[in-house]
Amino acid sequence: MQYSFLNLVRQGLSGHQDWPAQWRSPEPKTAYDVVVVGAGGHGLATAYYLAKEHGITNVAVLEKGWLGGGNTGRNTTIIRSNYLWEESEAIYEHALRLWETLSRELNYNVMYSPRGVMMLAHNVHDVQVFKRHVHANRLAGIDNEWLSPEEAKAFCPPLNISRQLRYPVLGGALQRRGGVARHDAVAWGYARGADRLGVDIIQNCEVTGIRRDINGAVEGVETTRGTIKAKKVGVVAAGHTSVLMAMASLRMPIESFPLQALVSEPIKPVLPCVVMSNSIHAYISQSDKGELVIGAGTDVYTSYSQTGGLHITTHTLEAIAELFPTFRRLRMMRNWGGIVDVTPDRSPIIGTTPVPGLFVNCGWGTGGFKATPGSGHVFAATIARGEPHPIAAPFSLERFVTGRLIDEAAAAAVAH
């Protein structure tokens, strides 16, 4: 059913009792044209664009838990495209343009809110790097502007710009088109959209093996709900991608770390934008519910535990308490973690693999949410054509062999 004013009125008259389920819960068929492993935002977006733009509707998305229950539902929902390298600019800007029309595209309110993302500079190095970003972005036609401390404060009034701080604010890079979106709604919107186009979303279905024929090509997957045949399999499983790829004897250049976030009790609107501090690795924004959403850095040790070290959180909060003294007495309600997959150059891997028919989309590290529409869009094209989409091409797995890295880690001095 289309979500429209007319239908809203119609359903309202019958007490909202007849809204249909947003997606089906089908039994898995024995074979599909494409199997996507992982029903997070990226996986669901991939399935949606496969059906929408490439006419491939005989698609299954397999999810071991529930859709959107992994990193999609655990991140701090920041959206921006002000990356340094041209390759990164291309894919994140591609995503940002899709974000701008996504609610209409999906007929689903993903609550994209371009309230501005401000990245704070705390030392001379930060200032130089961020200014370089501003220039690089402008040359690529991407908005990014430098703010003095006073301008930063004017844009975000609760910010403390005193020079006496341990992490003084020396300025900030602001991308006004950046912002946030509702993470669950993104997963639900893509799930509903894909489902309406005929894609089967199969939850509680864990992939336990990848089947290959005598030539080594993919012929399907083993799951907890039986064998499912498919000539093309796309793995989009974030932190668990390396586990899945090992089933096809592929070793991935990714490491998995816990990344944490926490929220405060809800308060009235006080924080008008997203504030990031790369030096400290702290992010903060205010949800529509009124809670302050605070993101911390990754643990320094690899792990699959969905809880991170307390030191990491307290380190972040020390800085937040200095930068926003008014938040000091707020009570923190919940703390949680997700498993992020980090590559050596802090850029994602999107593309083909040495195993024919096996495709991979992973390595988004701590910043995959912002790329969701763009990632799904180019990955769908890659799977459909059997060769990388031009925007995805630089993010190939081979770059770790050829050395043609896209080093956003060095560029931003942070895993992001």
Binding site: E265, K289, V300, I320, A321, M333, W336
Partner: protein
């Protein structure tokens, strides 16, 4: 005096909770010469059962009764044992390595213990009826807390509704304190008597019987009792004005009331244990999640034990013995048999008596389905104002469990951290999906298990390893 104003970094034993179990455990370990600290967020020892036993303004001993004043003895033994007591210390985290996050004296800090005894006690089971969020509707336990701690007795037309020993005990205490009870609405299922009979033998020989009968008879003489209540609602605009109920299959009745006190038993307070990773299972008799424990209260986590009602509801006397057993196990693990231990067999004997009698009480006062699993517009999650129908609707459109429900409805994500809705949500989803609560499970609980100020977390004292943990090369 055992109260401390500062905490050390390491203790042999840390006991979380200063109720019957916690005090008993700490007394055993401190007496055996182990450095012991009791962490509890209340201003005085005693837990819920013996709340304010050292400070209560209610000095007429007949009001709160002998069982309450028994707590004095346990507290005195504890205070003489050499155990340290951190009053007003809120524990918000416990790791598998037995690092405890505690908020104390205006700052947060970590401390370590070689043995941890969780004695976090019980909570009242949620009682979700229409109107239970109106001002003037409280839990019986809440009213009892006010009586013990501050000597307050509710005025006006006070109606008590529900079932369970605590309801009768409080009715008795309130009358003794000079209060008036307008009526008691007994929601216990009449079929419960028949089912409970097969567990009657151990009960008859337990101390519960005589005490219970005397208490109930005393209350019945003075208060109007309406039994067989099958539906219950609080009515009123801005505060409770009336209680609307049905007895059996009879028509609805309306009783004017100024205050409605609800109670349908207590359940283990599992938040800290679950967040620490202790395995829990669904107890089909007590209708709640209980931790999986060995005979000394030991959990699957090395060095962490649970004692008292947090280990499964058994009452204060049993809690003391379970506390002693957990204390004994801690001493044996850290010091071997020192000879300065209380008699284990004596504790087990007492425990057996109370455990045996429990089945009768659990069956008799088993809260009936209609009061556990609400319907329609009745609020389930008070913090986020989520109704039963919303939960049912979301299960029907594809939500499979409590953790997924958080993203659909935010159920359980408010300041109570799921304490007021967890069991209701589990049972509601289980019933809608037609599976067992065991299969549905519970909210995934995480630290901080008590909300903690941002500045407190931001000002945690640092060790060298804390610094290395965040320094990036």
């Amino acid at each position: 005096m055992s109260a401390v104003t500062s905490l050390d970094d390491h203790y042999d034993v840390a006991v979380i909770g200063a109720g019957p179990a916690g005090l008993a455990a700490a007394t055993v370990t401190a007496t055996a010469g182990l450095s012991t600290v009791v962490l509890d967020d209340n201003p005085a020892p005693g837990g819920q059962v013996w709340r304010a036993v050292t400070t209560t303004p209610v000095q007429d001993r007949r009001v709160l009764g002998d069982d309450y004043w028994k707590g004095q003895e346990i507290v005195q033994a504890f205070q003489a044992s050499g155990a340290k007591h951190a009053l007003g210390a809120a524990v918000w985290s416990l790791s598998r390595e037995r690092e405890i996050g505690v908020s104390f004296g205006g700052g947060a800090r970590m401390l370590e213990a070689r043995r941890v005894v969780i004695a976090s006690g019980a909570l009242e089971r949620p009682f979700p009826i229409p109107g239970w969020t109106l001002p003037g509707v409280m839990s019986v336990g809440g009213a009892q807390t006010l009586l013990k701690a501050s000597g307050l007795v509710p005025g006006g037309r006070v109606v008590l509704a529900g079932a369970g020993p605590l309801l009768w005990l409080f009715a008795h205490q309130m009358l003794q304190a000079g209060g008036q009870i307008h009526a008691i609405l007994d929601t216990s299922d009449r079929a419960g008597w028949r089912a409970a009979l097969k567990h009657a033998m151990p009960f008859v020989t337990s101390p519960y019987l005589v005490k219970g009968l005397k208490l109930m008879a005393g209350v019945r003489r003075r208060v109007r009792l309406l039994t067989g209540v099958t539906s219950l609602a609080a009515g009123g605009r801005n505060k409770v004005e009336a209680v609307i109920f049905r007895q059996g299959s009879e028509g609805g009745q309306r009783m004017a009331a100024d205050m409605l006190l609800l109670h349908q038993g207590v359940v283990p307070n599992v938040n800290l244990a679950m967040a620490a990773g202790v395995e829990h299972h669904w107890d089909a008799q007590q209708l709640c999640f209980v931790p999986v424990l060995d005979t000394f209260g030991g959990t699957g986590i090395e060095g962490v034990a649970i004692a008292g009602d947090g280990a499964g509801i058994a009452g204060a006397e049993a809690a003391v013995e379970r506390g002693r057993l957990a204390g004994i196990a801690a001493v044996r693990a850290l010091k071997g048999d020192t000879g300065k231990l209380p008699d284990e067999t004596a504790s087990r004997k007492v425990l057996a008596k109370y455990d045996g009698a429990r089945a009768f009480l659990d069956t008799l006062y088993r809260p009936s389905r209609g009061f556990r699993i609400p319907a329609g517009d009745t609020i389930v999650c008070r913090c986020e104002e989520v109704t039963a129908q919303q939960v049912i609707d979301n299960v029907r459109i594809g939500c499979t469990g409590p953790n997924q429900l958080k993203s659909f409805l935010r159920c359980g994500m408010g300041p109570c951290q799921g304490r007021m809705c967890g069991l209701t949500v589990t049972e509601l989803i289980a019933e809608t999906r037609g599976v067992t609560p065991a299969e549905i499970g519970y909210y995934r609980l995480r630290p901080p298990v008590k909300p903690i100020a941002l500045a407190e977390l931001a000002s945690m004292p640092k060790t060298e390893s804390d610094v290395t943990a965040v320094v990036r090369i």
